[in-house]
Symmetry: C2
């Protein structure tokens, strides 16, 4: 009889799981209860706030809630104070944020007891690498939601507006308040009147959700588009051209946010083409924007093909310019010194530039982390980065505190994430990639949040199937779904590091697609710093990039005690070992108790590499098993779509393992330990394989 | 110091392993010692015998050996008596066989103490499915050694002759004494004068090695080639045409062996096209051949597209004809009732046709067993087949005894194997596929040999690296190489059954290539008995082909007690379960202690299927590990070529497992047990995958 009862229960659970396509993200508004709203003001934003309360109220049915715009010293910017019956804020958008926070807490079962919530960063932006032809650079979830038809059809449709509104709502629900609508590799065409008209239409939809619109600009626009002879930032015609263009933009979009600029980087034009500095270029644009309150975000992602160490260059180029930028210029710096790798130490510019505002650029789209195929929760990587201590103003000078105004006081604080969304029904290609969009927004709002809490929130909002999460019936769901899935998410980035590039290895991807392995890839006509051998430096003596004082001396860019710590093999963290050191294959790696297969003392570097790749593969297999067991708790569509992607992730983890081990084995000339599964591919097959087409 | 000594020893072993490409097969003639030969007669065959002794002598240096042709009642046919100093035989070819046996024993370290060795079958043939255009049907080791240039270049070169001689020598060394030079799907062109001239050249090379030449014929040759209006075997013009053609052949090749015929089978012409029986057709040809001592091998591989059970048809068509064939006709019957599947019960014709000579047709080429990619030692399958008890003349009426003259007395006894060789340097594509050629010859000579002994012989001859196998130094080699590799070979066919089609499943291959899985494959325009669903019969109720008395009643073709044993679920061997029974997914399979993952009592059929596929995959992984450990004992080329093939075998075992489990899961609607690794492919991907091109 017990079994029968269990079967009925299971049947009930299963049959109540409606098909979901993921389009609703974490905002699924299941069975709202009635609520009374008291609000003395009216506006587009406040209308949205009230609408959201009605769509999603999970508190006491029929309860009252007051929306109260009133200054309060404990509230900063668009922050808010929250209670079960009241939301207070300085601004209308603060009220909307309070509403979303209240609804989230109702959805997750968190307490709502005089919460004061203020944003860590004033500007919390998504960067869209969307091209005007509708494609997205490093986008893996379909075409651009802004430019999907290309330039041929710039007409704004009702469908467009609905999608943009859904986008704005999702962003507002996690506190994102800015969007750069086009690729940093920007087309000069972006500044044409017809395009700007569509930008205006987008801005109009985003505005009531508190989202400002920004654009990436091409530095040579005055010449290419304006017909001038130069784009030299010191040229008065150029200055005038930009002033006029900015004026035109603000006439269309009075709250326009400003420009994002990739200059003198990877072939993009910039002030150095005219003998000017990055500061000269940024300041010219900043001066044009200043009257309107606009800003310039100037990217520090620059490197020359001839340098001895690409990792040193942002620091080398920008440190001498510290203090030379206008106060409405922010230098946008990628988290690591190379390029969004599965693991990098933080970029040494953080904390080092003291007189200039610095904003972190994170990458939400998984360019180097399995794209929309691998389940990789990036929050732990960002947490690791934000909590990295720069020591620039003594212990505790974390990247977070160096950038959020806690230590340095500049006009603006900001953070950007390169978006992972597109026209795919579920926005992000992989259902779990939604968690990265969510986590970026949550961390931008509160950079002290833990990945554990973010994952738990997201899972509850995205997958739970009950009106009240604290119901007794949900203990089963929490034990068998929430906790294991959360553990998988929290471990998933380390897993990717294991099967892609453990122990500080980096940038060993095949060719240009940045998906599969290619440690062997290095055609003669390609600049060395775009090829993996430049980074792994494997030879019969050993492997790793020597960035110590005996090598490229990149360690010197870090503040003590980090500089010495990274320089010294005995103190360099194992996770950065081959980032900073070139080591012999027989180098003895310290045993680590938490690596299941690597508990033996006295592992050699070669063995450690082998075990990391094997562990990565085995971990993905465990995720498959875990997910298969979750079938009763998930709707069929999302279950099988994630199942299918995990299968491919497992196949590709195997390809990573086999490719890297067989390639490096040529140099190590050592056996793969026999308690590791043997490769199932031959190296020559993998070298020929085009992973972008598998 | 001990380690140092060990390193030197290893270095010595490694450096002494010369590159080998496998072309020498099991005849590697390492460092022969001098020998004195006493032989009173001279002939081409005896010259070869003496040459072989000189090339390969591993006995006492300078010892004497007598080659003695003298009748002895204990010697049958081309058998021989062997001692350390004497080889005695009735025939010259018997002397040559004795020489090869002596050299083998010297190479393997077996005793040589008054051995009497007689062949089990008088005719021991290879069937080559070689086409005149140089391709080989179901050949996976390159083009035909006989027809490689096609009809455009029939000129016999010195290179041809050397290769044919090597081929003849290899065959003679294992007792093969006949070769059918062309495909059973025969071209009428085979009977043209220009082709027959090349056949004569081949026969001239093979003759001194005791190998007779045979040809497959196309039954409609009189009409197609001779221009007659019919090929009706009762037509006097047709009879005359064949008589003349046979006379022509014998004028070129006086010891020509005879014809192999595939008639009224899979689109081939035959006597039934003219309302005649198989016996009518076979006898007409037999009469033409009889004056010259030639024979007809008439294949029983016939089946009609409309029958309810293909497995029943050979028996149904041929049993009524028992006793109606000439005594120089032999019915050639494939080992199983369907078609060379990884596992079949024996064809019920064996032992059942009492008044007609029956010869087994085995398939050495691995059409359905991984082709030249999978390591599958077929000897165990043939041993299982030969030892199958038909009960036709009481207990102990094994297939071996029913066909080798022990029970029934016909003019000829014979056995045929479909060859796996081609122009590949190592003859068979996979180095281990040489073992199947070897095992076929050895079993044809002595159908009581064990696969264990055959494997051990073959490994010693093929891989050992010392002059005397019994050297003390070889204990290491025997423990760490010979025994594990032999175990792998002996287990390998069961492994393939596990990951391809366990528990009696059969013929669930994709499309026409017979390599990868295709249980789903069944286009509407293809005859049902060429599609897997005809064979597995999977539906939501269960799986398996019901051949019981309630089903197709194929069990009735077997002699009691087999018929009842197969019919009854409680006595049907588990390995034939789904061959004879359609069973529900929840059917309880008896627990088997020797299946590592399946020790739980009360496995359901679905679970048992899952564990078999998983075990198969895990076993291939173990072979990979085992082989990798053998590196110090093998030359680099053969090591890495086998290693590479094992990798592919492992990948494809995974594809088999995933494809079959995911396909059948649609019907079973049950979970794959969680202690089994999850599939890493999606079913739709596998259905689209063309395994022949992977």
């Amino acid at each position: 009889m017990k079994n029968l009862a269990l079967m009925f229960l299971l049947f009930f659970i299963v049959s109540s799981l409606k098909a979901e396509d993921g389009h609703k993200l974490w905002l699924r508004n299941q069975n709202p209860k009635p609520v009374k709203i008291i609000c003395s003001k009216q506006s587009a934003t406040l209308d949205i706030a009230q609408q959201e309360l009605k769509r999603g109220w999970q508190g006491t049915p029929g309860a009252s809630i007051v929306l109260n715009i009133r200054n309060n010293k404990s509230i900063k910017g668009d922050g808010f104070i929250l209670d079960t019956s009241m939301i207070q804020a300085n601004t209308e958008i603060g009220i909307l944020y309070g509403v979303f926070d209240l609804l989230r807490r109702q959805g997750t079962g968190e307490s709502i007891d005089h919460i004061v919530s203020n944003p860590s960063y004033e500007l919390r932006l998504l960067n869209h690498w969307d091209n005007l032809n509708g494609t997205i650079e490093r986008g893996y979830a379909g075409r651009s939601i802004f430019w999907h038809n290309g330039k041929d059809s710039l007409k704004v449709t009702e469908k467009d507006k609905i999608l943009w509104q859904e986008y704005a709502r999702a962003n507002a629900s996690i506190g994102i308040n800015g969007a750069v609508l086009n690729n940093v590799n920007a087309s000069p065409q972006m500044m044409t009147e017809e395009i700007l008209k569509r930008v205006k239409a987008i801005a109009d939809v985003l505005r009531p959700y508190g989202i400002k619109t920004y654009l990436s600009i091409n530095f040579s626009s005055p010449a290419v588009l304006g017909g001038l002879k130069t784009s030299d930032p010191f040229n008065s015609e150029v200055i005038k051209w930009w002033e006029a263009k900015v004026k035109e933009i603000y006439s269309l979009i009075p709250d326009f946010g400003g420009f994002l600029v990739k200059a003198n980087s990877e072939g993009q034009p910039g002030p150095q083409d005219f003998g000017r500095t990055h500061a000269d270029g940024a300041n010219m644009l900043a001066d044009a924007l200043e009257p309107y309150g606009g800003i310039v975000m100037w990217r520090a992602f620059v490197y020359s093909p001839t340098s001895d160490d690409r990792a040193k260059q942002a620091y080398a180029e920008f440190m001498p310019l510290d203090g030379k930028f206008r106060d409405n210029v922010i230098i946008q710096v990628k988290n690591g010194p190379v390029d969004f790798q599965p693991r990098e130490p933080f970029n040494p510019l953080f904390g080092a530039m003291k007189k200039t505002a610095i904003m972190p650029e994170l990458q939400i789209t998984q360019e180097y982390l399995g794209q929309s195929i691998h389940l990789v929760f990036l929050s732990t990587m960002w947490e690791e980065f934000l909590n990295s201590d720069t020591y620039q103003q003594g212990e505790g000078s974390t990247v977070a505190r160096c950038t959020d105004g806690s230590i340095y006081h500049h006009k603006y604080t900001a953070i950007a994430g390169v978006s992972n969304i597109g026209l795919d029904t579920n926005w992000t290609g992989h259902h779990f990639a939604q968690a990265n969009w969510y986590a970026f927004g949550r961390l931008a709002w509160d950079n002290k949040l833990s990945s554990n809490d973010i994952a738990e929130e997201w899972i509850k909002l995205t997958f739970s199937n009950q009106s009240g999460i604290s119901d007794k019936n949900n203990i089963d769901w929490q034990v068998f779904f929430l906790y294991p899935v959360k553990q998988m998410m929290l471990q998933s980035r380390e897993t990717a590091v294991n099967y892609m590039m453990p122990l500080g290895l980096h940038h060993i991807f095949a060719a240009n697609h940045h998906y599969g392995p290619g440690p062997w890839w290095g055609p003669k006509n390609v600049r060395p710093d775009w090829t993996p051998p430049y980074y792994h430096q494997a030879d019969t003596n050993g492997i790793g990039f020597d960035r110590t004082r005996n090598g490229s001396n990149a360690v010197s860019q870090y503040h003590e005690p980090l500089s010495s710590q990274y320089n010294d093999l005995n103190t360099c963290p194992e996770v950065y070992l081959l980032w900073f050191h070139h080591l012999p294959w027989d180098y003895k790696v310290q045993p680590k108790a938490d690596q299941p297969l690597a508990e033996k003392s006295g592992r050699t570097l070669w063995e450690a590499i082998c075990y990391h790749y094997e562990n990565g593969l085995q971990q993905v297999r465990e995720y498959q098993k875990l997910w298969d067991k979750e079938k009763p708790y998930i709707d069929e569509q999302r279950f099988s779509e994630v199942q299918s992607k995990l299968r491919r992730q497992c196949r590709d983890a195997q390809i990573w393992k086999d490719g890297c081990l067989l390639y490096f084995q040529q140099f190590s000339r050592q056996t793969i330990p026999y308690d590791i599964e043997r490769p199932i591919y031959n190296l020559d097959e993998l070298e020929k394989m085009d992973m972008s087409k598998i």
